[in-house]
């Protein structure tokens, strides 16, 4: 996994300097002349909605970095977005971070520090990617449970013992144990505690 770094800046020198810098540290980069061209590429699928990092300059014409970010979030776009700010728009960048951006980099920056931050964002992207894969698998496994198994799962999550579950569902305790073993196997967990943990972390919501 080697996430691409998308550089979105309308200043040619700056954009190419940044690309040159990141390239010197072996990071794969792709440059965009503005927020609109980048959004278009995302919409058309030219840029896959997959593990990557975006560097957005705040001050751009005609579409500003913040506006681009807003539209990007609507896709939705889980991947880290970093803002590049000049003097005076730090407060905007802080607001953007509160609004879900990964981080901001204030110009003029210590170049290698910048690369480190971008690297950290890339790691985060990879983690996110992995996690989303896990979630996907877990969701699929959940979907694969039979109706009776789902009932047993609900009882388990409610913290009942096998005996109580058998009474509640009107089945024998052995059958409950059988279902429970099946659930554990399908969801790839070792214990009820781990099951509850994974359900809490991955079980809710969609893949996003």
């Amino acid at each position: 996994m080697n996430p691409t770094v998308h550089i979105v800046d309308d200043d040619t020198d700056f954009r190419e300097g940044l690309a040159w810098l990141l390239d010197s540290r072996g990071l794969p980069t792709r440059s965009w002349t503005g927020g609109d061209t980048f959004l278009q590429a995302v919409r058309s699928g030219e840029v896959p909605n997959a593990c990557c990092v975006v560097l957005l300059d705040i001050r751009m014409e005609p579409l500003s970095g913040l506006a681009t970010f807003e539209q990007l979030k609507a896709f939705p776009w889980p991947w880290p977005v970093l803002f590049l700010t000049g003097h005076g728009d730090v407060s905007m960048a802080v607001a953007a971070v509160k609004n879900g951006a990964w981080d901001f980099l204030e110009k003029p920056f210590q170049n290698n520090l910048l690369v480190d931050k971008v690297e950290a964002a890339r790691q985060a992207a990879v983690t996110l990617h992995t996690e989303s894969q896990d979630r996907l698998r877990f969701q699929q496994a959940l979907a694969a449970l039979s109706a009776r198994e789902r009932e047993v799962l609900t009882e388990l999550l409610a913290g009942h013992y096998n005996k109580n579950i058998a009474d509640h569902l009107g089945i024998t305790q052995r059958t409950v144990e059988f279902h429970r073993a099946n659930i554990f196997e399908k969801l790839q967990v070792q214990s009820a505690v781990e099951l509850a943990h994974r359900m809490g972390r991955l079980g809710s919501g969609s893949g996003g």
Binding site: D11, D13, F14, E16, G17, L18, W20, L21, L22, D23, S24, R25, R59, G86, H87, G88, D89, K107, P108, F109, N111, N112
Partner: protein, 664 residues
């Protein structure tokens, strides 16, 4: 008013008295009084009219009664007069009867005395009729002739004769128609008895018209016409009446008619005059009433006007006063009283210098009077007044002569508008404006700085990226010399780009040219320092040499900017030490070939660690400051080949900035 002027008889003698208390007068009471008086007058008039009518009625009835009385009296008088004369005639006839009894001819020897016999025609016929000749056949000729005249005459005469015999006294008959036509006659018979035996009658005839003419006095006949009334007659008219004459046996009534207007003239005349007077009074009263109506309407209008003016006069915040010619305060309105803390009554009663007038402003009255005549002072004069509690007020004063309609000036009126608050608000507004402009400058400055940072950031950031990237590659020896050259060339271009930005900024900053012209420092400093809006409670002291002070070539606009900044800065810091009073002092000091404008304050002073950086740009220590003020001051000082210094002020214990400027 009179009491006030009592101390000044000369003024009272020459001036018409002006009643300023009319301002407080309530006219409703007066008009109610007038209305009541009119009501009383109307009632009185009604009474007079009623009594006039009663008087007329009374007069009429009284007159009628009087007339009645007079007629009765006349009738009685006529009766008595005639009866008196007839009794005398009876006596005469008795004498004649005696003579006739003793023989002799009574007609030939009549008693020729008395009124009856002076007029020959008064007793037309008389003769003796002895007893035994009672039968009409035996009557003498004159009697028979009379009896033959009318059918009833004989019977009447016979009755008369019978009556004399029976009653033994004289009897009358008639009036009967006489022989000579229309003239009527009264017959009269007087019996004669001898020793109780009837011996005869002496009969006489008297024509009525002659009788009346002879026996009734002329004064009565002058205004009355007398005649015999027929038996059937009643009271003939208003002017006539019937008067019966009681002669036994005769049915004789006189008709008396008054000749001419007998009504008494005097009471009527008096009454007419009285009526005339009454009518005149009535007309006068009506006129008076209408006049009062008009007056009341005018008064109502006046009252409305007065109420309006009084309300206005009481509601205005403008203090008003009035003086007489001699300078005595005659009037002060409540607003003025509130303004200075004394009641108007106290002010008017006060003698000597007015208590609210600060003595160093000269004489109030003189000043006011000179101002009223001065066309240039129409915009008002700003003065100060003492309040009762000691604080001072700023007031705007106007004055004007108090002239009567005739144009005669009888006093002076002055108004005083409290502008303390206005001054405070003006200062506050100026201060707000200053702050607004400062914050505006701050925003503009921030915008400039932000733009500049962006402009420089782009090439510098790119330059730095290229350099780091290059360095990374060179360190890892991943780059060939051929690859390095274009990158370095590009970096050079970007460095040039950054340089151009700086050049543009410089060009912009130097756009304002400086013009140094000779400047007289003292008035300049005084003007600029006084123009700085000071916060509440900060006192500005100017210690400047007399005259214009030194003159030097300077750009007045730039220098004003610098000095304004310094004074404003000092006035903002002065109150922050907590020492009172907060003071700012501006003075001129002399150095070697230089003149210093020194601005000192009583503030906390400059901490020693800030002394080195205080003139640097963006080094503000003031909330909301952008740190450009002192930097600009230094730039301006340097542009004038001078310098600026900061130290601790020895006596005010605050900061002390000195702007040194060369004199040449």
């Amino acid at each position: 008013m009179l009491a006030m002027l009592a101390g000044n008889p000369a003024a009272m003698a020459t001036e018409p008295t002006l009643d300023f208390h009319a301002l407080d007068l309530d006219t409703r009471q007066a008009s109610a009084l007038t209305r009541r008086a009119v009501a009383w007058l109307g009632a009185l008039l009604l009474l007079v009219a009623a009594s006039a009518v009663a008087m007329v009625l009374f007069l009429r009835s009284e007159e009628a009664r009087e007339e009645d009385r007079r007629r009765t009296a006349d009738a009685e008088w006529l009766d008595q007069t005639l009866r008196f004369h007839f009794r005398r005639l009876e006596g005469d006839l008795g004498v004649l009867a005696l003579q006739a009894r003793q023989g002799g001819n009574p007609t030939s020897a009549p008693p020729r005395t008395g009124p009856w016999w002076q007029d020959a025609g008064l007793v037309t016929a008389h003769g003796w009729l002895p007893a035994g000749q009672a039968d009409p056949e035996l009557w003498p000729a004159f009697l028979r002739k009379a009896a033959a005249r009318e059918p009833g005459n004989a019977a009447a005469l016979a009755t008369m004769l019978d009556t004399t015999r029976g009653l033994q006294r004289a009897a009358y008959a008639g009036p009967l128609a006489a022989a000579d036509g229309q003239a009527q006659q009264l017959w009269l018979a007087v019996p004669l008895f001898e020793q109780g035996r009837f011996v005869g009658d002496y009969v006489a005839a008297v024509p009525v018209d002659r009788l009346l003419a002879a026996m009734i006095p002329a004064w009565f006949l002058q205004d009355h016409r007398l005649g015999t009334a027929p038996d059937t007659a009643t009271a003939p008219s208003k002017t006539g009446f019937l008067a019966p004459v009681n002669l036994p046996g005769a049915q004789w009534r006189l008709r008396v008619e008054a000749l001419g207007d007998q009504a008494p003239l005097a009471p009527r005349a008096f009454f007419a005059v009285a009526l005339l007077c009454l009518t005149g009074m009535l007309l006068t009263l009506v006129a008076l009433w209408r006049d009062i109506q008009r007056r009341q309407r005018a008064e109502a209008r006046l009252q409305t006007q007065l109420a309006l003016r009084t309300a206005m006069e009481r509601s205005v915040a403008l203090g008003l006063r009035a003086w007489d010619q001699a300078g005595h305060l005659l009037y002060a309105n409540p607003a003025f009283g509130r303004l200075v803390g004394w009641t108007p009554q106290e002010l008017v009663a006060h003698t000597g210098a007015p208590p609210y007038w600060p003595s160093e402003q000269g004489d109030e009255f003189e000043q006011m009077r000179s101002q009223a005549g001065d066309a240039a002072a129409q915009a008002g004069t700003e003065l100060q007044l003492h309040h009762r509690d000691g604080h001072r007020l700023d007031v705007l004063v106007h004055s004007a002569p108090l002239a009567l309609a005739s144009g005669e000036v009888v006093g002076w009126v002055g108004s005083a508008l409290d502008i303390t608050e206005r001054h405070r608000i003006e200062r506050l507004a100026a201060r707000q404006q200053e702050l607004l402009e400062a914050s505006g400058r701050l925003v503009a400055m921030g915008e400039v700085a932000s733009t500049l940072a962006h402009e420089l950031n782009q090439p510098l950031g790119a330059l730095s990226s290229f350099a780091t990237g290059l360095l990374n590659r060179v360190r890892e020896q991943r780059i060939t010399l051929d690859e390095i050259v274009p990158v370095v060339e590009r970096m050079e271009r970007m460095a040039e780009k950054a340089g151009r930005v700086i050049q543009r900024v410089n060009a912009f900053a130097r756009r304002q040219d400086m013009t140094r012209l000779p400047l007289a420092l003292r008035p300049f400093v005084a003007r600029v320092a006084a123009g700085v809006p000071l916060p509440e409670g900060v006192a500005l002291e100017l210690q400047l040499p007399p005259g214009d002070g030194p003159t030097m070539p300077a750009d007045a606009l730039l220098l004003e900017n610098a000095l304004h900044n310094l004074v404003l800065n000092a006035s903002e810091w002065a109150p922050r030490s907590g020492r009172t009073p907060a003071r700012v002092r501006v003075e001129l000091v002399n150095g070697e070939g230089m003149v210093g404008v020194r601005v000192a304050d009583s503030g906390p002073g400059v901490p020693p660690e800030q002394l080195g950086t205080i003139f640097d740009a963006f080094a503000s220590h003031k909330p909301g400051g952008m740190g450009m003020g002192l930097a600009i001051c230094r730039s301006i000082a340097e542009a004038h080949h001078g310098r600026i210094e900061v130290e601790r002020c020895a006596d005010l214990h605050g900061a002390q900035f000195t702007l040194w400027l060369p004199t040449t």
